[in-house]
């Protein structure tokens, strides 16, 4: 399958990298000649210099035989025109466009087949805010992924030295809490992603991922030694689109005590007009005195959401020092995203990465219901329905020759969540959630006799 990606910014670059790792033919188009040259050297993709909406350039990129066009430049107009031109040149191809402005939602027919024919509209800002809300719903979590229509959650927490789980092996933990259904399928240790085995011992500073029913989460948080504290007082630093959307979402959920700090007076006025209760403050710098006077010590959550990654990281650390219970930062560079937890930022969200994840999910099809990625994209999580013909059905788990580095995390049968052990037998129709290192995914496919096919 061949994919044409317009725009080689952070999003385009990471999409191209992901797809090329999966042996897809990717052609990238960008206006910046040096960027094109650099990508040509560093990725196994073809990069073309030119305007993304130009028919000539699109034809040169092989649009006529492509199965998908993904327009992710910074400009909504270029993305829309690229999709339109693409539609005229190749009628059967799927089209994905990144749109920042929400204005288009007033006339939804613009996206349908008669007009632009865009199959998926992606807004990184909206994705990022959705991800943040998802994370905030599990107090104390650094990352949250939903499965089975939110009935099953996978959440990441960073183990403190005083956590009751630190220093214990998984077998030990399982034995200590026989009544609770949960599984620790993945953990992040320094920069590695590990799929732990029973005898592996958890260490302080590991980020462990716990999979459980949504209903059991409060008890599990107790087990982990996390007091669940509901978040009521927020300070948001920055007046970007993400900040505005985030404030709106929080207000929709009934949070009234929000302070927004911005440096630019126009931007402050604009955001003040858009929010309902939030207090907008204008300040050039984020100094200690100002933060203290705004009550940082009693704040439940501080989020740094400016355009500047370095400023976001440093101000989040400052807020944490000064007593904010949770701190979060928006990162724009994907390299910084992985650093966030190491320097003490509890929650890091990257809008572009969130956008990329959504597009990758869209690209997958077949009987796989969802595919998610963990940080560093070394591990993929596949959610699928076990078919009668599949090799995993009808045998106890211990007799299955599952490749090392992959594990069946959970099985949902009807309304019941089963955390599988060696004797579990998967029945047809069960919903199965599998964790696997990315390079093993093809072997898992064979097991499932489900092809992780792409469109086209």
């Amino acid at each position: 399958m061949s994919v044409v990606v317009v725009g080689a910014g952070e999003m385009g670059y990471h999409l191209a990298r992901r797809l090329s790792l999966e042996n897809k033919d990717v052609t990238l188009i960008d206006r910046d000649e040096e960027r094109v040259y650099w990508i040509q050297e560093n990725l196994d993709v073809r990069a073309i210099h030119g305007k993304g909406a130009s028919p000539d350039v699109l034809l040169k990129a092989g649009i006529a035989s492509a199965s998908m066009l993904i327009a992710v430049t910074d400009s909504d107009e270029v993305n829309l025109v690229a999709c339109y031109v693409g539609k005229l040149l190749n009628g059967v191809m799927k089209k994905v466009a990144r749109l920042r402005e929400e204005d288009y939602s007033a006339i939804p027919q613009i996206l349908d087949d008669k007009h632009l024919g865009i199959d998926l509209v992606i807004s990184p800002e909206r994705e990022a805010v959705a991800k943040l809300i998802q994370i905030l719903e599990v107090p104390g979590a650094t990352d949250v992924l939903d499965f089975a229509e939110q009935r099953i959650k996978l959440f990441g927490i960073c183990l403190q030295a005083d956590s009751p789980l630190a220093g214990r092996s998984l077998l030990n933990i399982r034995a200590a809490y026989p009544d609770n259904k949960f599984l620790i399928p993945v953990l992040l240790r320094e920069s590695d992603v590990l799929i732990p085995r029973g005898e592996d011992v958890l260490r302080p500073n590991d980020t462990i991922y716990i999979m459980a029913s949504a209903a059991d989460i409060p008890t599990l948080l107790d087990i982990c030694g996390l007091r669940s504290r509901s978040l009521k007082r927020f300070i948001i630093y920055g007046t970007t689109r993400v900040a505005v959307k985030f404030v709106n979402e929080l207000e929709k959920r009934g949070v009234t005590n929000i302070r927004v700090i911005g440096a630019d007076s126009h931007a402050c006025e604009k955001i003040a007009a858009e929010v309902r209760h939030a207090l907008v403050l204008r300040s050039d710098t984020l100094d200690e005195g100002f933060l203290r006077s705004e009550g940082i010590a009693d704040t439940d959550a501080f989020f740094a959401m400016t355009d500047d990654d370095e400023q976001n990281a440093l101000s989040a650390i400052l807020a944490k020092r000064m007593g904010s219970y949770r701190v979060g930062a928006v990162t724009n560079k994907i390299e910084y995203h992985r650093l966030a937890s190491a320097i003490g930022v509890d929650i890091a969200v990257n809008p572009r990465l969130a956008g990329v994840a959504h597009i990758i999910q869209f690209i997958r099809k077949g009987r796989v219901l969802s595919v998610s990625m963990l940080p560093g994209d070394a591990v993929e999580i596949l959610e699928c329905e076990a078919m009668e013909t599949s090799d995993i059905v009808g045998h106890p788990m211990r007799t299955l020759r599952f490749p090392r580095g992959s594990i069946v995390g959970a099985v949902e049968r009807g309304k019941e969540l089963i955390i599988p052990d060696g004797s579990t037998v998967i029945m047809p129709g069960d919903r199965v959630i599998i964790f696997s290192r990315r390079e093993l995914v093809p072997r898992i496919e064979k097991f499932l006799t489900v092809k992780l096919e792409y469109f086209g």
Binding site: S2, S20, L21, D25, Q40, D44, V45, R46, A378, R437
Partner: protein, 481 residues
């Protein structure tokens, strides 16, 4: 530098080269030679060792940097050349290691300079291996490795750049593996067509396969002492000429033509220059030969066309002893050795594209003397050539001349006379094969002493890898951690 990646990639490339020795075994069996056991043993033994080393050192998600790519390509060629000596030494054809290395590097670098005076006396299986080294080296062993082993493709662009003889690489396909496969497909189409056409001309299968390998790789090893002249057939001369010329053309153009756009040839400035140089030189030599050396115009034309094509594409097949020709024609042939084929072809030398860029650059400098404020991008095919590429081409030419001058000096100091030395160094650095005087059309390289052979071996290798890839290994910066 990531040593695991370097070791595992080198092991993968080596096992592929070792495995290809097995293709000589059927010929040994067919001709009833007892070499087949030795060849099969070397091939399987070496490839099993290679695969084992690969299995131990391989890593998930290999990430290459430019350093790794450079060392993998240089090291891969060195290892391939060493593995290539095994069939010569184990069968006792060339018991001396330096001779075997010379013959092996000459094969892989598609030079065609030989230390074997009479190929007819050799076992057919060893002759086949000798020609196979040409064929593998022509499109490139790294390109082949990337094509058949996709896991090398992740950082493959750097390796392709280090191996493919061209200042710029066209990506024929979005992925490196796809690009490598496409190049090999074009190469295989050329090969199969020529084998068929030579067969029609009455050549037996063995000879036509070997000569085809020598032609499409622009190598020049023949199974006959007298080279192509042995067949004394105008049909065979014409077929070989056409395929030598085709092998000297940028393979991107062949690919475009095969995909249904044959007009692309004449849209390329480089192709037009290549063809004009070929036609002009052939005409000049024809008229120099007509009368004194050849009584018939047809003979003169046929000999000059074949020889110009052979030298210019750096193949080195021979139908006439040009040592007996007028000096003006010998000098012209020597100059053509430097020009070589087109960029992105299997030919050696400096490549037409670089000559064009240098010529335009010189013209631009002259123009700027008259109009100091003129803005003049250097254009080829109505596209501006970026100045880093122009600079790199100028550096390439300087380095080429430098290596050429120093090698010639060393060779004269070691043993040769001046004309022989100039001919030998030019013919090896440009990967032609036969040179002038004592290494001329009907001579060979067997009489050189060990150090001279090593020097010429080095020239062949750096010439094939277009200097930079090998020479960068001699800089201190490269080895600094």
């Amino acid at each position: 530098m990531n040593r695991r990646i370097v070791v595992s990639s080198l092991a993968a490339i080596s096992s592929l080269v070792s495995l290809s020795i097995i293709t000589a075994v059927p010929w040994a069996l067919y001709y009833g030679e007892d070499t087949w056991q030795v060849l099969a043993a070397i091939s399987l033994g070496a490839s099993i060792i290679g695969i084992a080393i690969y299995a131990v050192f391989r890593e998930r998600g290999m990430a290459y940097g430019s350093k790794e790519a450079l060392i993998i390509v240089s090291g891969g060629w060195l290892l391939a050349s060493l593995i290539g000596t095994l069939p010569y030494m184990a069968t006792g054809v060339l018991p001396n290691f330096i001779d075997a290395l010379f013959e092996s590097v000459s094969g892989f670098s598609t030079t065609g300079a030989s230390v074997i005076p009479d190929p007819e006396s050799l076992p057919k299986s060893v002759l086949f291996w000798r020609s196979t080294t040409h064929w593998l080296g022509g499109m490139g062993i790294v390109v082949l490795s990337v094509a058949v082993m996709p896991f090398l493709g992740v950082g493959g662009m750097g390796m392709l750049k280090a191996e493919v003889p061209s200042p710029v690489i066209d990506r024929l396909r979005p992925r490196v593996t796809g690009t490598a496969r496409t190049l090999w497909k074009v190469y295989i189409i050329l090969t199969v067509t020529e084998i068929f056409l030579l067969g029609l001309g009455g050549m037996n299968l063995f000879d036509s396969v070997c000569h085809t390998f020598g032609t499409v790789a622009t190598g020049g090893f023949s199974t006959r002492t007298a080279s192509i002249a042995h067949y004394n057939s105008r049909y065979i001369d014409v077929v070989v000429t056409v395929f030598m010329l085709a092998a000297g053309i940028n393979f991107t153009l062949h690919f475009e033509a095969l995909s249904g756009n044959p007009k692309c040839y004449f849209q390329s400035t480089e192709f037009r220059t290549y063809l004009m140089l070929f036609a002009g030189s052939s005409l000049f030599i024809t008229f120099q030969l007509w009368g004194e050396h050849c009584h018939e115009l047809g003979d003169a034309l046929c000999q000059s066309v074949f020889q110009v094509a052979s030298i210019m594409t750096t193949t080195g097949y021979v139908t006439a002893n040009w040592e007996l020709w007028p000096y003006s024609t010998q000098w012209l042939l020597l100059c053509l050795m430097f020009v070589g084929g087109c960029a992105g072809s299997t030919g050696g030398g400096m490549k037409c594209l670089r000559i064009i860029v240098v010529a335009k650059h010189v013209f631009r400098e002259l123009f700027l003397l008259v109009h100091p404020r003129a803005v003049m991008p250097l254009k080829v095919d109505s596209h501006a050539v970026a100045s880093p590429i122009v600079n790199s081409i100028m550096a390439f030419i300087s380095l080429f001349v430098g290596v050429w001058a120093v090698s010639t000096l060393l060779l004269i100091a070691l043993e040769a006379d001046m004309i022989t030395a100039v001919g030998a160094v030019s013919a090896t650095l440009s990967n032609v094969g036969p040179g002038l005087a004592q290494v001329g059309a009907v001579d060979n390289y067997a009489w050189f002493n060990g150090p001279s052979k090593l020097l010429l071996t080095f020239d062949m290798l750096v010439g094939r890898l277009e200097l930079f890839t090998v020479m960068v290994l001699f800089t201190r910066e490269f080895w600094r951690e």
